[in-house]
């Protein structure tokens, strides 16, 4: 029987995000090492998770990182509460240890763009995600969620149409989108519908748009009233 290697994930930062992420990944049989600089917190995590390896140290320090087995990690996730520390940890992982994929928690949403420009594969802002969800609950405007498609620079954009959208009653083929975007799915009452050109858009439909650029705003603008 061929041995399938378990993916190795290095998590930097043992706060709430790091802790639950480690727990979740272990349950899914990932190999996980968690790095936490506060010894008391590290001990607590080790006690609670048992099977996780917790290392005490600075996740943005070269000499320490070299002891974590980082060079065989498939993914490094930096999720401390400090954006600059997350950025540096990911840059070191990527450029000095050739880690293929770096994911960073972005505490201040304005830094998402900066992280992308500085080479982080996946900057994730909880605040931004939360704002999108809350906006959806508020209703009124269309809700937009963008999901970056791996490292390709493309995005899947999920647009929930507001009740007064001008697109309701129109054919899919009549909807104008940016050149590099395409409607790939229609979600109606929780069910996926193939967006054939003659399909008529109904109230409360969700459009899933594939966009070759990451400009989610651009897609949103072209679909809004």
């Amino acid at each position: 029987m061929a041995l399938v290697e378990r993916p190795y994930v290095l998590i930097i930062g043992g706060g709430k995000v790091g802790f639950y992420l480690a727990k979740h990944l272990i349950e899914r049989d990932y190999e996980v090492t968690l790095v936490e600089k506060n010894p008391e917190r590290a001990e607590r995590i080790e006690h609670e998770l048992g099977s996780v390896i917790v290392m005490i140290g600075d996740g943005d320090e070269m000499a320490f990182l070299a002891t974590t087995g980082i060079e065989r990690a498939g993914v490094v996730v930096a999720c401390t509460g400090d954006d600059e520390d997350n950025l540096i940890a990911c840059q070191l992982a990527k450029r000095k240890f050739n880690v293929p994929r770096t994911i960073a928690r972005v505490n201040n949403p304005v830094n998402v763009h900066v992280f992308t420009a500085l080479g982080i594969d996946a900057p994730i802002s909880a605040t931004e995600l939360l704002m999108g969800l809350i906006e959806a609950e508020l209703g009124g405007s269309e809700m937009v969620r963008g999901v970056a498609v791996k490292a390709s620079g493309a995005a899947l954009v999920d647009v929930a149409l507001p009740d007064l959208s001008r697109l309701i009653g129109r054919k899919i083929s009549d909807i104008k989108l940016p050149d590099d975007a395409l409607i790939v799915c229609l979600v109606r009452k929780g069910q996926p519908v193939i967006p054939r050109p003659e399909e008529i858009v109904q109230a409360q439909d969700e459009l899933i748009v594939y966009s070759k650029s990451l400009d989610v705003e651009d897609v949103r603008r072209s679909l809004s009233a």
Partner: protein, 140 residues
């Protein structure tokens, strides 16, 4: 640095999170002062980074300095960007990645080491005793 540059007639803008930090510049300081964090694009823009010829990040946080310098270099394309880094290993790493850095720890260690070995204090060519004698003569 801000005082020396402004004194030499350069246009200087200084960014700090604390307003109280600006007190140290003295009343003669003729540069601009912006309150905020230097890793925030909008703060940098407000400080006029788009017209800057040089950007220096010299907070006491290495990572913060590195991040600010990269924002200046990569996003705003400032022609000359300098970063202060305390940790010598980190400095080496980022120099290899193409950043202009100054490592204060290494500079001071070199100076101290030099004095220990050669007996010459390169940061003050005159012996301290000479300065002390001059000061006490002046006091009398």
């Amino acid at each position: 640095m801000a005082r020396a540059l402004a004194g030499a007639g350069h246009e200087v803008t200084i960014i700090d999170e604390k307003v109280s930090a600006f007190d140290r510049l003295g009343s003669e300081f003729r540069g601009n002062m912006v309150v905020g964090t230097g890793i925030d694009e909008s703060i940098l823009r407000r400080a006029g980074i788009e017209e800057a010829d040089c950007f220096a990040s010299v907070t006491n946080g290495d990572n913060r300095n590195i991040m600010a310098a990269q924002v200046a270099k990569v996003i705003f394309k400032v022609p000359r960007v300098i970063t202060r880094i305390y940790d010598p290993i980190r400095e080496e790493v980022y120099r290899e990645l193409g950043m202009e850095t100054v490592c204060s720890t290494r500079l001071i260690a070199d100076l101290m080491l030099d004095y220990v070995i050669t007996g010459v204090n390169r940061s003050h060519p005159e012996p301290a005793a000479t300065a002390a004698a001059a000061a006490s003569a002046k006091a009398e």
